[in-house]
């Protein structure tokens, strides 16, 4: 998980177009926050900056389409082999036709139907895992940062330790020891995903806890848990949302890798990664429809969540500058 540092719009704005011209002057940072200054609430400012990013808007469209495709699609797309419960042994590995838009797989399942079912599983697991991991990571990080001292040191060494074990290795050992099921995979993906939010929120907390309003709450007798839950976490919400978006993208990739290596939901369920791994040997004999659609779905969803995360970060950065 590389921190994919996006564009730095403010820095770019002050950079001269021709290198070496030295046109920038100190203090003349023309940021979008400046022009948006007088208009409406923060939500509107965030949305304005966000919606300027056309790629992010397209990405939202892709995600909405994928959600509809995976969760609503199965109610409308009914083939003779009704999605994935019924197979037809007579029609195995059929190439795309008007009856089966993307052909059938070696079990006689319709590939489009499998894509819907596999996508629903992948998205459910990724969203659940990212959600659980973000909530846990946020509280872990906030408590660690707020408590400080020995508690902080111990909690952060735990994060360091888990971070230093290559994710896939750890997850596969757990999956091999305990038998895979839907919730175990959610747990496993979440186990990899809570570390980054924990670190980020700890960093935020370290700066937020010195703010005046936190000191004011403390002076009025507010306890630590109230400060963390009511004041620190709500003020770190930008960081949390941006990171959660990236966590979803990473979770989809990780889930696909796990599925590819054979640690996925039990049959007859499937996920995009599992479809890919099941299709490889047939694809080498020409059944391209077994791997490319699933692979493209994974890439599309991952790219979209990454673009949305990038745009959200820019939007929230503007909010921070306005403060």
């Amino acid at each position: 998980m590389i921190p994919l540092t996006g564009d730095l719009p403010d820095k770019e704005a002050i950079l001269p177009d021709v290198p070496g011209m030295g046109a920038e002057l100190p203090g003349v940072e023309v940021t979008e926050a400046g022009e948006a200054g007088g208009i409406g609430g923060l939500g509107r400012v965030i949305w304005r900056v966000f919606s300027e990013n056309k790629l992010a808007l397209v990405s939202i469209g892709v995600i909405v389409f994928m959600l509809l495709f995976c969760f609503v699609g199965p109610h409308f797309y009914v083939t003779p082999q009704a999605n994935f419960v019924v197979t037809s042994v007579g029609q195995v590995l059929a190439p795309p036709s008007s009856q089966h838009l993307l052909g059938t797989d070696p079990n006689g399942y319709d590939t489009v139907g499998r894509l819907m079912v596999g996508g629903a599983t992948a998205l459910e697991i990724a969203l659940l895992a990212a959600g659980i991991a973000t909530i846990f990571g946020v509280f872990f990080g906030a408590i660690s940062g707020y408590a400080g001292g020995a508690v902080d040191a111990v909690m952060m060494r735990i994060v360091d330790t888990v971070l230093s074990v290559p994710t896939l290795f750890l997850l596969i050992v757990i999956a091999a020891i305990l038998h895979t099921s839907f919730w175990l995979i959610v747990f496993i993906v979440a186990l990899a995903a809570w570390l980054v939010p924990a670190r980020l929120i700890r960093g935020e907390t370290l700066t937020l806890r010195t703010r005046e309003y936190v000191q004011a709450v403390r002076a009025m007798g507010g306890g630590g848990s109230r400060i963390v839950a009511r004041h620190i976490i709500p003020n770190a919400v930008g960081t949390i949302i941006v990171n959660a978006t990236f966590q979803i993208a990473d979770a989809i990739g990780l889930l696909a890798a796990l599925g590819f290596l054979g640690f996925g939901v039990p049959a007859p369920g499937t996920s995009w990664g599992q479809m890919l791994s099941d299709g490889i040997s047939y694809a080498q004999e020409g059944a391209w429809w077994l791997i490319y659609p699933a692979g493209i779905c994974i890439i599309l969803v991952t790219v979209s969540f990454n673009y949305i995360g990038d745009a959200l970060r820019d939007a929230f950065e503007v909010r921070l500058q306005r403060r």
Binding site: M1, I2, P3, L4, T5, G6, D7, L8, K11, E12, I14, L15, P19, G20, G22, E24, R157, I158, D160, T161, V162, L163, S164, V165, P166, T167, L168, F169, L170, I172, V173, I174, A175, A176, I177, L178, A249, G253, A256, A257, F260, L261, G262, F263, G273, L276, S277, I280, A283, Q284, W288, I291, G295, I298, I299, T302, V303, N306, Y307
Partner: protein, 318 residues
């Protein structure tokens, strides 16, 4: 510098003990505890005396804290247990496979650095022009492509369709022979590197962009240095420093990527051994490999941090 080194090594040792704790938890994750672990390893027909012997041989009947300290001792003395499936000590298997994985990782990291850094610089110099946008889109796509999917596509296109490279990695026994079979190495190395080329070039682009806004760059321009000199001597050298930290941070992910790449291309390294162990329920090898992968990562990030401190004097005094 010495103080920083000692502190950093001390931290690494704590993390390794933490890794031991994780390993310990893994061993105790078996539903049913040590007896069922013995049963999985010895097989369903093992007699109670055989199980008792296994437990006492492996110290599994000792108090839990004693077991933990024995494990820590074993890890620090590289005693990783015994693979009953392959009938060999885990350490022997690891020593056989590790150099091959290190070769794969080394070549991929080298390729990443060689391609990503110039690419990032090129994008900064051409920023907000079509070539910059095209490369940005390309790097986002490569970043989002799962390693195994890229591997499959590359095999389809370059091995099966065009017959340019073999579809399988070199199967030779020694590292030298693997290097000699360079044509078979091209696809695995590129597959593993692609994600990181994408990520690192994005990072390099931001880092270089940030360096160009620094005061010392303005000073250098003001005193009349050529653009080339400002870009490559003043900005680039500072922009490269964060890349080293990134390299250290990325190490665990690259090692995970090697697991996938090795299983896609059947590359005879540690990742493939691990994958086979997972399929065969070879738990001692499985957990031993995790320990080695984690240790390698800890040592790798330690080296990256030391290099960072050598290159950037500011770090040493923090």
């Amino acid at each position: 510098m010495i103080g920083y080194l000692i502190r950093r090594v001390f931290q690494a040792i704590i993390v390794i003990i933490g890794v031991c704790a994780i390993t310990f938890i893994l061993y105790h994750l078996f539903p049913g505890g040590a007896t069922s672990e013995a049963r999985i390893i010895l097989g369903p027909r093992a007699t109670p005396p055989q199980i008792a012997l296994f437990l006492s041989q492996n110290g599994l009947n000792k108090p839990i804290w004693t077991q933990f300290f024995i494990l820590v001792g074993h890890v620090f003395t590289f005693n990783l247990g015994y693979s009953y499936k392959l009938n060999e000590p885990v350490a022997t298997i690891v020593l056989q496979k590790l150099p091959k994985t290190v070769l794969l990782l080394g070549l991929s990291t080298l390729l990443t650095v060689i391609i990503a850094i110039p690419l990032g610089i090129f994008q900064v110099l051409r920023r907000n022009r079509p070539s910059d946008y095209a490369l940005t889109t390309l790097s986002f796509i490569f970043y989002a492509t799962p390693t195994f999917f890229l591997g499959i596509v590359l095999i389809q296109v370059f091995a099966i369709h065009w017959h340019l490279f073999p579809p399988e990695a070199p199967q030779s026994a020694s590292v030298g022979q693997i290097l000699g079979d360079w044509r078979a190495l091209v696809l695995p190395v590129f597959t593993l590197a692609a994600v990181y080329i994408a990520g690192f070039s994005r990072y390099m682009r931001s880092s270089m962009m940030e360096a160009l806004t620094e005061d010392y760059v303005r000073t250098a321009r003001a005193k009349g240095l050529s653009t080339r000199r400002v870009n490559y001597v003043h900005a680039l050298r500072n922009a490269l420093i964060p890349i080293i930290t990134l390299l250290g941070l990325t190490l665990p992910a690259i090692v995970s990527g090697a697991l996938i790449t090795e299983s896609v291309f059947n590359y005879p390294g540690m990742g493939l051994a691990f994958f086979n162990a997972a399929i065969n329920n070879d738990f001692p090898l499985l957990i031993g490999t995790v320990v080695v992968a984690a240790m390698a990562t800890v040592v790798g990030s330690l080296l990256a941090d030391i290099l960072y401190a050598v290159l950037d004097p500011r770090i040493r005094y923090v």
